[in-house]
């Protein structure tokens, strides 16, 4: 019963999907047995560096590529072998792929006319739907223009409206913001999020930009070399990266080796650099005496002047001005180097000059244990 219930609320379920190009035994492997569940009405992001297989996975859901092995379930129905025009999913392409010979309104109507429901809709209903979609992305004024007459941001909106017009069950977005400039990209992030909430359609978003992923997603799957590294909410991914790849790919981090000394109140204590005691985030599977790798985010470290009590003595090597923050490179007595980030302050005296000595404090639970 439970299994059936969860099946119905899953929008897309990727089951042991493998993709090999060319010869299935010797060809290059794009995806090594992927399992993923994407829930109904979720903003789900596939995040990873180029070549990690995220676009291949998206194209398989769209139907442009077919898995070598495995199943792709769309609301419980296996669609892995269906051609793209028989799948109730639509794509927003990276470079929009608007039909250059059609007006904006014609571009939007294309999917409606081809769709089985196009035979049911009459001309007025179709025009209404086109207008409604143009209104959703605030492009009503451009209905009779050609794509070439629009700016990149406007084309982006049209591509979104075109893909939403036939009411897809799932909307696929292939790095749709990568061609826009920074300001526009930030505005579009919020707009995409709003539109997703308003339409209630499941969004699957592909990006290599971790900031995009963190700000927009309900959940993120981090991919690398054809494998899922971690799936979770943005906070999970950022605060508790499972492994070295995730910790490194999302944001900046310090890697520290440490030995577990004792476990107390759910916190594992480590002997960090120079034997300094270091509390890690709750973690069930650590044994006392084990040697593990830890990730500590730069903003979880704090500098205090002089030799404060309980602080780890360090030397400021460099100070980098980032605008909102100041970033310090510090070296410890054992020679290891760490990155510390603090909010920028007006008071110059609170900054630390390169070459000076300072104390380093770790936030409670700032270190997370990495599994490889």
């Amino acid at each position: 019963m439970n299994a059936l219930h969860s099946l119905q609320t899953l929008a897309v379920s990727i089951r042991s999907v493998r993709k090999v190009y060319g010869d299935p035994h010797a060809g290059p492997v794009a995806l090594k047995s992927i399992d993923l569940d994407i829930r109904d009405n979720e903003f789900f992001t596939l995040l990873g560096p180029s070549g990690c297989g995220k676009t291949t996975l998206l194209r398989m859901i769209a139907g442009f590529e077919f898995p070598t092995e495995g199943e792709i379930l769309l609301y419980g129905e296996n669609i892995a072998a269906r051609p793209p025009f028989q799948r109730p999913v639509n794509t927003v392409f990276q470079h929009y792929a608007l039909f250059p010979h059609m007006t904006i309104a014609e571009n939007l109507a294309f999917g409606l006319e081809s769709h089985p429901m196009g035979k049911v809709l009459n001309k007025t209903q179709m025009a209404d739907r086109v207008r409604e979609m143009l209104a959703l992305v605030q492009m009503e004024r451009f209905a009779n223009r050609k794509p070439a007459q629009l700016s990149g941001g406007q084309q982006q909106r049209v591509a979104l409206a075109r893909a939403l017009a036939p009411h897809p069950k799932v909307l696929l977005l292939d790095e749709p913001l990568s061609a826009l400039d920074l300001k526009l990209r930030q505005a579009m992030r919020e707009e995409l999020k709003t539109i997703q909430a308003r339409t209630g359609i499941t969004f699957i978003f592909v990006t290599h930009d971790q900031e995009e992923a963190l700000t927009m997603s309900d959940r993120i799957a981090v991919l690398s070399e054809g494998e899922v590294q971690q799936v979770g909410r943005p906070e999970d991914i950022y605060e508790r990266p499972r492994n070295r790849f995730v910790a490194d790919f999302i944001g900046e981090t310090n890697f520290i080796e440490g030995t577990v000394t004792h476990v107390e109140d759910g916190l594992a204590w480590f002997a960090g650099p120079a034997g300094h005691p270091l509390p890690a985030q709750p973690c069930s599977d650590v044994r006392v005496g084990a040697n593990v790798a830890l990730s500590v985010r730069p903003e979880r470290l704090h500098l205090v002047p002089g030799n404060a009590d309980g602080a780890l003595p360090c030397r400021i090597e460099a100070q980098i001005y980032l605008g909102t923050d100041l970033q310090y490179q510090v070296s410890l007595n054992d020679g290891s180097r760490l990155t510390v980030r603090t909010p920028n302050c007006v008071d110059q005296s609170k900054r630390f000059a390169p070459g000076s000595q300072a104390g380093l404090l770790f936030d409670q639970g700032s270190a997370s244990v990495l599994h490889d």
């Binding site: 025009f85 794509t91 792929a97 007006t103 294309f110 081809s114 050609k146």
Partner: protein, 306 residues
């Protein structure tokens, strides 16, 4: 207001310089296009010399004889023989255009879908026939089509037929020769438009529930349209004046405008009439193309540009 005369002088100088810049093109056009046409116009308005060439006497006979025949009593009677040749030429040129488009379009689509590194070789292969002279290539068709040719001999050898089929010296043979000659001229411009087409547009169409046929009709064909039109013009216009295929494969009995004109300068020794025929042909083609260009321009404006 001191600057004004200087600005004017500068502008005039710039205009003069840009005129100097294009002058080589103007000289070439004048020398190779306008002067020859003027000569042809001149010839068409002179009297024929029965031994070839023209007598330098004004005469409009050449134009009159396009549609009329001078009777013994010097009266003019309507004669449709040249009109029939013109209509047959238009018919054969039109049919050739349609057939080459039907063959060329799928080939161009296929070429454009090939991986980029293989396209170069395939395009090269399409241009290979141009390396041999058209006359020789057309003679090769004679060897294939004649009564004792490869096709008839093979069919008789296989026992399919016991009498050779009359393949050569038919309208079909002329059509075949023209289609063979002009097919590459259709493939190349269509390929050029499709090659620039973003392949992702096909994915977008499929993603938006369009099957193959709808994708072809609504996306590929409209995008290939400029290439299709260019290919059609590149086939239809030279076909109208084609000479070699009708002469060799039609045996000169199925006359087309091209060999009619050719005859006036060779056997018939009526240069003014040949000149008049070619001018009328040229004027007709230009009229049609101008009409088409104007219509396309009007459509472009009506659709709001781009």
């Amino acid at each position: 207001m001191h600057a004004l005369p200087i600005a004017n002088a500068l502008e005039r100088r710039r205009a003069f310089q840009s005129f100097l810049g294009v002058s080589p093109a103007l000289i070439a056009i004048g020398l190779f296009l306008i002067v020859p046409i003027l000569i042809v116009i001149g010839y068409s308005l002179m009297e024929a010399n029965p031994y070839g060439g023209v007598n330098k006497v004004f005469s409009s006979d050449a134009y009159i004889s396009l549609l009329f025949q001078r009777q013994l009593d010097d009266s003019l009677a309507f004669a449709d023989s040249y009109l029939i040749i013109a209509l047959r030429s238009i018919g054969i040129a039109g049919l050739t255009t349609v057939i080459t488009l039907l063959i060329g379009f799928p080939v161009a689509v296929w070429l454009a879908m090939q991986p980029a590194n293989r396209r170069g070789l395939l395009i090269f292969l399409i241009t290979v026939p141009f390396w041999a002279n058209l006359l020789i290539r057309t003679y090769a068709w004679i060897l294939l089509l004649r009564n004792t040719g490869v096709i008839n001999n093979s069919l008789m050898g296989l026992g399919v037929i016991d009498q050779p089929l009359q393949l050569l010296y038919t309208d079909g043979a002329v059509l075949l020769g023209l289609v063979y000659t002009y097919a590459p001229f259709v493939v190349l411009p269509i390929y050029a438009t499709l090659e620039k087409m973003d392949i992702r547009l096909l994915e977008a169409a499929q993603d938006l529930y369009a099957g193959r046929l709808r994708t072809l009709r609504k996306v590929v064909l409209p995008i290939a349209k400029p290439g299709i039109i260019a290919g059609a013009i590149l086939t239809f216009v030279p076909c109208l004046g084609a000479m070699i295929a009708p002469e060799l494969l039609g045996g000169g009995t199925r006359m087309m405008l091209g060999n009619l004109i050719f005859r006036q300068f060779s056997d018939a020794r009526n240069w003014p009439f040949g000149a008049a025929l070619s001018l009328v042909l040229m004027a007709a083609v230009m009229l049609v193309l101008t009409f088409y260009a104007l219509r396309a321009e009007r459509q472009r404006i009506a659709k709001g540009g781009a």
